[in-house]
């Protein structure tokens, strides 16, 4: 017999109240990250607060200026959305490359961002496109949202409701997938936005981050050649069984170059 509780709130307010009332409870979205972590013994929540009944958190809205994706929208829905394909094709392509079809059919954008896995794909898009993360309490800018390994700017019990991506002039994402899991060994998202060129990297550090030297170089010339000769320090980057920090550092300008090719 497990002591765990399961709640399926029918409103955002009820979900927030449940989350505020129990610090050891976990919001449940697709479960594609929570359930594996529980099996590994990394997580033992007292209760699930399942957002499945909150239809208002699901869906995609787009106009000429921005694309807004509800927190409970699956990766498969983003990948197949004609609106996303038309406005920000690189975002649809990113979603289509997450994990495998089964994971994409359940995993959600809100879960991916709240989780801030160091190798997750969406964080790179959110940072490079200068997206806004909307929660039940406030709107958070992309810069400063990812704080560290599995750590974000979300307060305890705070619930992501939607992510708003401004439509860029042009953008592209290239990931070097770790062949077994399809997570990013390194992924680089390059975008020309209304606030300038932004380059965001995932898979290489404790969480997604921007790379100023590449942004400056591409601001001068938005072309693959601009990445040539740029080398990045590997000091703070990840080393694991899949790749060394030096290899990851080397991949960053290489993938940026491929993104622009």
């Amino acid at each position: 017999m497990s002591a765990m509780a399961y709640h399926r709130p029918s409103s955002l307010a009820e979900a927030a109240k449940l989350a505020a009332g129990d610090p050891d409870a976990r919001i449940l979205a697709g479960g594609q990250s929570i359930l594996p972590s529980m099996k590994l013994g990394l997580l033992a929540p007292s209760a699930f607060i399942d957002l499945a009944a909150l239809g208002e958190l699901r869906g995609i809205r787009a106009d000429r200026k921005s694309v807004t994706v509800g927190a409970m929208t699956t990766h498969a829905a983003v990948a197949a959305s004609p609106e996303v394909m038309a406005a920000i094709p690189s975002l649809a392509k990113l979603a289509a490359g997450i994990g495998d079809p089964q994971v994409r059919n359940r995993g959600t954008i809100g879960g991916s961002l709240a989780n801030s896995d160091p190798a997750a794909d969406y964080p790179a898009a959110v940072l490079a496109l200068n997206a806004t993360i909307r929660t039940n309490r406030r709107a958070l800018p992309a810069d400063g949202f990812f704080k560290g390994l599995f750590e974000t700017a979300l307060a305890p019990g705070e619930i992501i409701t939607a992510v708003e991506f401004p439509v860029p002039n042009t953008a592209s994402y290239v990931k070097f997938p770790q062949p077994a899991s399809r997570f990013a060994l390194v992924g680089v998202f390059v975008a020309q936005t209304s606030t300038g060129v932004r380059v965001a990297v995932t898979g290489a550090g404790p969480c997604a981050f921007r790379v100023k030297v590449l942004e400056d170089a591409l601001a001068r010339r938005y072309a693959p050649q601009a990445c040539e000769g740029i080398s990045l320090p590997s000091g703070d980057l990840n080393t694991d069984i899949h790749a060394s920090a030096e290899y990851r550092a080397h991949l960053i300008p290489v993938l940026a170059q491929r993104a622009l090719a």
């Binding site: 497990s2 765990m4 359930l35 099996k39 079809p101 089964q102 399809r182």
Partner: protein, 160 residues
């Protein structure tokens, strides 16, 4: 905590009380005795446990039954016609030798059906990408890809 749930499995309504952390894979195999769904890794890596929820392929070892209140679940047992013949995808796996030990097959068939439902005219490359979440330790995949391509033709003919 016992959670009351009601869902449809292979067309039949199922009402039950489950623990909050009961996985769909254990519910199907241990509670409903639908053992056609296999558990290969239990770490959401191999796809052997793939079933359909609302017509889409999901790994049943990575979903809670509690999450599926009101959903429609289809397992490998639910795709065969009532007369006991084979679904065109199963028939194609048989004809093309798309299996050896058969452990991965139920999951492969469920993923492949979802793939063809959404992309009826797939290339071999798309078939491989569509089966990314399913591992096979025996066949080397060649005959699985052939089987899905054959089923695509057979299912295309069935479509009105």
């Amino acid at each position: 905590m016992a959670v009351p749930i009601e869902l449809t499995v292979n067309g039949k309504t199922v009402a039950a009380e489950v623990e909050a952390d009961t996985l769909l894979s254990s519910f199907l195999r241990e509670h409903l005795r639908l053992t056609g769904t296999h558990i290969g890794c239990d770490t959401s890596s191999c796809g052997a446990c793939t079933v359909h929820v609302g017509g889409r392929a999901v790994k049943s070892c990575n979903v809670l039954v509690a999450q599926l209140h009101g959903s429609e679940v289809t397992t490998i047992e639910g795709i065969t016609p009532r007369d006991g013949s084979l679904h065109p995808m199963q028939a194609a796996f048989k004809a093309c030798h798309g299996l050896q030990c058969g452990f991965c097959t139920a999951g492969m068939v469920m993923s492949a059906i979802d793939l063809l439902r959404h992309h009826p005219h797939t290339t071999d490359e798309e078939i491989r990408a569509g089966l990314e979440g399913n591992l096979c330790r025996c066949t080397g995949y060649q005959n699985i890809v052939k089987a899905v391509a054959m089923a695509a033709k057979a299912m295309g003919r069935q479509r009105p």
